[in-house]
Point group: D2
Chain length 137, copies 4
């Protein structure tokens, strides 16, 4: 993992404010803080440009209703090429939190999110947009 060292010239007040933020967020160094901003920008671009990405789809549903478990299983099998694994949490007697680890082209993952969200019985769906890490150095 070779490093590149370069220098940056910025307004002193901006640097002071950014340093205050670094301290507040307990980030170890300016390089880590700047690298984080760069990587977040690159991941956002990967999702926008239909790149290969990874992440998680979170679903909330009541397992008693609408035969949702069977239909959810079916829909997940149809998209097995996008799904790595699933983690299931029993939130209470009725509610389930299902977290689906996904990997693939961003458009396909967004399509899967829409399909799962559309299922009768699914109360809520959310996405954590991550990365395969490969291009993040």
């Amino acid at each position: 993992m070779p490093l590149t060292r370069f220098s940056v010239s910025l307004d002193s007040r901006l640097v002071r404010r950014f340093d205050a933020r670094i301290a507040e967020e307990k980030l170890p160094t300016r390089s880590k803080a700047i690298g984080d901003l760069m990587r977040a920008a690159l991941v956002k671009s990967e999702w926008a440009a239909d790149g290969e990405v990874a992440g998680a789809i979170v679903l909330v549903y009541d397992h008693h209703r609408h035969d949702v478990v069977r239909r959810l299983t079916q829909a997940q099998h149809d998209a097995h090429h996008l799904i790595i694994s699933t983690q299931h949490v029993h939130l209470d007697h009725d509610n389930c939190l299902e977290i689906i680890a996904v990997r693939g082209r961003s458009r396909e993952i967004e399509g899967l999110l829409r399909r799962l969200k559309a299922l009768k019985g699914i109360k809520h769906a959310a996405l954590a947009a991550g990365s395969t890490g490969r291009k993040l150095a």
Copy 2:
């Protein structure tokens, strides 16, 4: 689970456009489509108002670097009251995708996200903002 039935009066053109969207998204009924929008708005408010929420934090990191595995384990144990379970994916030889199922007050979960993101070696962190489902009917 008692149902409430009520009627809505809206511009005919708006209803037509919304129906086209329902067809496109393959949503089963207008009630499901409208319920989804309501629930998404309520979940957003819960997160904004520091309510009790659930969801997933997604981390991407290179397990070889900076002793990140040990420090990540430590940080997660410090927040064990917010963490339900963890799912780990070996993306490739170097990169890991770790998905942490979380539950608690939204401020605390956002604080945990910041703490994990700040760790040296973590390349990217993302959040899927879900719900405990309780108040979503």
Copy 3:
């Protein structure tokens, strides 16, 4: 402007929570509240699908620096087909807030936003994603 009246069947608890939100937000009726959610979803889709949209680009810059005023004027003239008009606020001795009313295809407007943001001297750029209103009934 003909109206369409239809009925919706939803969980009673969900309806109660949504009604509480309606009261909190001081929305006049359920129909207005539901119509707002529908319109917001449709506007989001219009932006995603490169539809004809309208909105505002907000820029913050220091007019003393980098000949930014001249270059900004130039860039805006190059995109005159997307720009309706401009509102300029003198925030203080140095800082300007320039608000550019825009209308056109969403991809073109996002391209314009990127071009303006890239200009030396522009400190910050933000977008308010609105609509031409035509398809919102």
Copy 4:
């Protein structure tokens, strides 16, 4: 406006990818690109922390309906301490785009956004979250 010069050490692959992005976005220098990311992060924090901010509220409405013009004028006068000026666009025979330049504490501006959005006749409301520029160097 004194400058601070400092050096950053980052993965070579990350720097290469970021440089490709800089070229694509036509950003003049790495310093401008990194400064933009820093400022965007700081502006986001200012909005989250109820700091003094500036920006624009965009409204779409049909001026024929619900006496919306009178009620909108009233609501804006009630919030005159937050509103700098207003730009009005006649989108077509029916639809108006009104862009309100705002400045004040972020909570107050978000409250104003909610109040305006709740008015009968307002079809859509959006916010461009900007800055007073003061702390952006």
